[in-house]
């Protein structure tokens, strides 16, 4: 029953329907001890959506015979055949355009980028051909497409293979941008993305693929779906709000653990949706805690944290007891050497330190050389 209700909610059939409190309570209830890897979560979501709707098909490099560069599409070629699981040549601009054209006609493509770094070759199609079409055509040409793949830093892959694209795609009207953290997120958000009638950029994370999370029976149900545009409060707290998405949610939760030992109760918000951004959840949380730390892996300038900070200043300025703190990737191209790479990506200690600063519990750092 809950599955059916949830399907209605994420199909958008009932706008403004506030069943969220009950649903949130249900979501926190995890009776089942079943563990699922994010990789498996994505695979099962793809499988179920392809099974449910014949218009859904998958295309990308190595998605078929290779079983997926990161094995996300394992078994799908065998199950659905080469007409629905297409291995493409290494031509992002071409195959992304083909995917968007197929979506114009009414199919529901899932286009995989081996990493989102390669999406830059196709970004014209994502923005100009997909995101803007419904608007420019006054509703005639809708584009029910999903662009998915790993985003952000992996391990030791260097500058050209490590960028986070959340801020770039998140700034574009006409796109929806999602970024899962847990297996529940991965399943629910990918299903929602595939069912959504608009273009969705789905930012996964390579290092999360192998991580396991507990999943309830409800999450495993084939009709399970999460609403787009709603953040999740992963951990409730009262002293400081920490927002994060994707891999950084895990770091923020670890930071919250460490902070709790020092008497700081941090509320961790898993954004889940970069666009639309759940401003109301973020603001409600800041109005409760009065302090905010934004965490992201991407470059700091014009980043997701910058938008969250401004949103809070615009809507909840009077509630802030301290300046908003921003933790982001270093403002440099990603270096290769392990020690430099470590400095280029946020670590748990960085989040802890920033939270303490927001709570006036540490001496601010002097500018370093």
């Amino acid at each position: 029953m809950w599955g059916v209700l949830r399907q209605k909610v994420c199909a958008g059939g009932l706008p403004g329907m506030y069943i969220r409190p009950a649903v949130a309570a249900f979501r926190n209830y995890s009776s089942s001890a079943k563990q699922m890897m994010v990789r498996e979560a994505l695979n099962s979501a793809l499988d179920e959506e392809m099974s449910a709707d014949h218009r859904v098909f998958l295309m990308g490099e190595e998605v078929g015979e290779y079983q997926g560069a990161y094995k996300i599409s394992k078994g799908l070629l065998e199950k659905y055949g080469p007409e629905r699981v297409l291995d493409t040549p290494i031509t992002e601009a071409g195959f992304t355009g083909i995917g968007v054209g197929a979506a114009y006609y009414g199919l529901r493509p899932v286009v995989e980028f081996m990493t989102f770094n390669f999406s830059m070759q196709a970004i014209d199609h994502i923005i100009n051909s997909a995101a803007k079409s419904n608007y420019m055509s006054a509703g005639q040409i809708s584009v029910p497409i999903v662009f998915r793949g790993p985003n952000g830093a992996a391990a030791g892959v260097g500058a050209q293979h490590s960028q986070c694209y959340a801020a770039w795609y998140g700034s574009c009207p006409g796109l929806k941008v999602l970024s899962p953290y847990s297996s529940e997120d991965a399943r629910g958000l990918l299903k929602a993305a595939i069912r959504d009638p608009d273009p969705v950029v789905f930012l996964e994370n390579e290092l999360l693929y192998g991580e396991s999370f507990p999943v309830s029976d409800e999450v495993l149900d084939s009709s399970f779906c999460l609403p787009i545009g709603k953040a999740k409060i992963e951990r409730e707290g009262k002293d400081v709000t920490i927002t994060a998405y994707s891999k950084m949610v895990g770091f923020a939760l670890k930071a919250a653990e460490m902070l709790s030992k020092e008497g700081i109760s941090a509320e961790v918000i898993n954004l889940r949706s970069i666009r639309p951004l759940d401003r109301s959840t973020i603001n409600a949380s800041v109005r409760k805690t009065n302090r905010l730390v934004t965490v992201e892996e991407g470059f700091p300038q014009h980043g997701v944290g910058a938008e969250i900070c401004t949103s809070v200043i615009e809507e909840s300025f009077g509630y802030l007891d301290a300046p908003v703190e921003r933790i982001a990737g270093a403002d440099v191209p990603m270096p290769y050497a392990a020690n430099l790479e470590r400095m280029a990506v946020p670590q748990v200690e960085d989040i802890v330190r920033a939270a303490k600063r927001a709570c006036y519990r540490s001496v601010p750092m002097a500018a370093t050389a």
């Binding site: 706008p15 297409l86 083909i98 054209g101 055509s137 005639q140 040409i141 009638p197 545009g229 401003r279």
Partner: protein, 402 residues
């Protein structure tokens, strides 16, 4: 000049026999009228194209094109309408009623009209920004064109698209694209979906000689060939990519050969019958064998857009030369008069009707209001989930997306 044979139930032996008879008949107007009325519907005319087709990796279709008086009349009417529409748009732009970009198609009408004659509305067409006439050919109305150009509610995109973003999805017209070359992979995607859905239809993806050098064309063509997609790439070669002549932009301007393993056909794009024949051939080919390239040798009288006079990179003599020798509307006019299907006066009357229809549509379009301010926020998404969007000053203007 074109050689023609009048084929009817009483077959004539040789052209020398036919010509004197028809010449004699033409003296009697009443006889001619009865002849043309009976010739209107079922008579098949076979007319040769002005030039033979040049082919690459395939056998070209025959130069002899089957048509009928009715079809030729419709060609004239449609092309003359497109011509007048574009010229009217020129005036509207100069009167500042059309803003921004306006890329006119006059001179290239035969490509749009010939293509329509070979296909159905279930086949798809996608093109770039020189799309007004293609839109009209796909069943768009004059009102929708002028209103959209002027940014009014009655426009085909409700005023939110503009000149480069005309669409008519229900008639298989997928735009209208501003980014040079992007429409080619999109068109191959349409073809992919047609094949996936087993619709037995094809997609024509049109692009210019400027776009012919785009990498994404070759990326898409490779996939179309690999997957046998029913995609026809139509290079509307008007010999100038904005201000750059083809010989300055392309090492090899034989665009119909650029497909390498994909066959190609070079077509006189100013001859509507040649275009029809080529598109008919292409559709049959693509449904069985996958992609094909058609290169339409055509010409635009206007500059690249309304901000380009079009005479700094080519001579006025060249432009007037094409107008005199190869104009597509004039060619059909001559065919109609020489075959006694219509008189000069009848054709002039049709042109008068067209002028009137265009003027009326413009008047109607001027009456159409600009979009409501609330329209700023509509159609951003199909499903907005009640998410907030903002105007320039978000404390002043915000809306919930439906």
């Amino acid at each position: 000049m074109a050689v023609s044979r009048l084929a009817s139930s009483s077959s004539s032996s040789g052209s020398s026999l036919v010509k004197p008879i028809s010449a004699a008949l033409s003296f009697t107007s009443s006889l001619r009228r009865s002849l043309s009325s009976s010739a209107d519907d079922s008579t098949t005319l076979t007319i040769e194209t002005s030039l033979p087709f040049t082919s690459h990796n395939c056998d070209p279709p025959s130069r002899a094109v089957e048509t009928s008086p009715k079809e030729l009349m419709s060609f004239f009417r449609e092309m003359a309408l497109m011509r007048r529409m574009e010229i009217a748009a020129d005036s509207l732009y100069k009167a500042k009623l059309i803003r921004g970009f306006c890329h006119l198609y006059d001179g290239q009408e035969a490509v749009a009209v010939g293509m329509e004659a070979a296909i159905t509305k279930k086949d798809c067409i996608i093109t770039a920004y020189r799309d007004h006439c293609t839109f009209l050919g796909r069943g768009g109305t004059l009102l929708e064109v002028f209103a959209e150009l002027m940014g009014r509610q009655a426009g085909c995109s409700k005023g939110k698209g503009g000149s480069m973003h005309f669409y008519k999805k229900e008639n298989g017209f997928y735009g209208g694209h501003g980014i040079v070359g992007a429409q080619i992979p999109l068109g191959c995607g349409l073809a992919f979906a047609q094949k996936y859905s087993k619709d037995e239809t094809v997609t024509f993806a049109s692009y210019g000689d400027g776009a012919a050098n785009q990498g994404q064309l070759f990326e898409a063509l490779n996939m179309a060939a690999l997957w046998d997609l029913p995609a026809i790439l139509v290079c509307e070669n008007n010999h100038y990519g904005m201000g750059t002549a083809e010989w300055r932009a392309a090492k090899s301007p034989a665009y119909y050969k650029r497909g390498d393993y994909v066959p190609g056909l070079k077509v006189d794009g100013m001859d509507v019958l040649a275009v029809k024949q080529a598109c008919k051939f292409a559709k049959e080919y693509a449904l069985k064998n996958g992609p094909l390239i058609l290169e339409m040798d055509t010409y635009r009288y206007h500059g690249h857009s309304m901000s380009d006079p079009g005479s700094t990179y080519r001579t006025r003599d060249e432009i007037s030369g094409v107008r005199q020798e190869r104009d597509p509307v004039e060619r059909v006019r001559k065919l109609l008069t020489s075959h006694d299907i219509a008189s000069e006066k009848e054709l002039k009357d049709i042109e008068k009707e067209i002028r009137k229809a265009v003027d009326e549509a413009i008047a109607q379009a001027k009456e159409s209001p600009m979009p409501e301010p609330s329209e700023l926020f509509t159609n951003v998404y199909v499903k907005g989930y009640g998410v907030e969007s903002f105007g320039a000053d978000r404390k002043e203007v915000r809306a919930r997306l439906p």
